[in-house]
Symmetry: C2
Subunit: 149 residues, 2 copies
Amino acid sequence: MNQKIDQFDKKILQLLQEDARMSHAEIGRKVHLSQPAVSERIKRLESNRVIRGYRAEINPKALGYDITAMIRVSTQQGRPYADYVANCPEIIDCYTVTGEDGAVMRVLATDVDHLQRIINELNAFGSTSTAIVLTTHVSGKSIAVPNVD
Amino acid sequence: MNQKIDQFDKKILQLLQEDARMSHAEIGRKVHLSQPAVSERIKRLESNRVIRGYRAEINPKALGYDITAMIRVSTQQGRPYADYVANCPEIIDCYTVTGEDGAVMRVLATDVDHLQRIINELNAFGSTSTAIVLTTHVSGKSIAVPNVD
DNA sequence: GTTGAAATAAAAAACAA
DNA sequence: TTGTTTTTTATTTCAAC
């Protein structure tokens, strides 16, 4: 099940993180491998769950989401929130973390009224602390593969 | 530059967020549109920057990153961190937010020593507060397109 | 928006190191 | 096992409508 990631895999993963729709032939040209060899390696990386999937990255503003917020929820002895989070379309990321804040979430809202409604819902799970995102410096940066030299 | 997103675009964006490598012909079958019509719409969504790009989603654990942490940095009157953040491979997400925490970051580390080194570096920009991620409930959930009915 | 032809890419097969 | 080239199938691009 586990595999060792060699320099070819490392480069392939870098390229697919930058452009998931790059053709296997073009990847092959860049890494100096034939198209079937690249396809074979990608298939193995997929079945080993090194590659989890391929996602189009959408601009939230273009869809009317003018506000991104980070909401921390102190969830100690609160009711379970996993199902709620999974089904709430505004919650894009949600992590259970150590410390007094049980959960950290990234949410999208169309306007402040919308954000208020989301916060009201989340208050059912614990006290919340909301910070509005002013600048997104990086979001979903490519993961660097540790050196295998 | 701006465009109205109709029900076809909405479905196309949903499908590409789930699987960015789905063929345009298959998308066409699902939305009941010809393949060139789908390609045309996708090209428009790309050039209007509704679609920002296509990314392979990589499993950090598979690459040796056993720890994910949320680090908050109180950066008031601190030195600028945008360049550092852009070039630090362990910082995957970084947001400047309102409130006393100037910045919220998601970082990957191979082990606690590695995490400690990252925190030490970040302390140059302000006092830090670190919470280790115990569970990732959702990360990069598909953005729902608001109704256009 | 559609169909249909040409170019390109992916998958399958046969085989070499 | 991991790679190569060749062949077949699928997809994308580019007309013309």
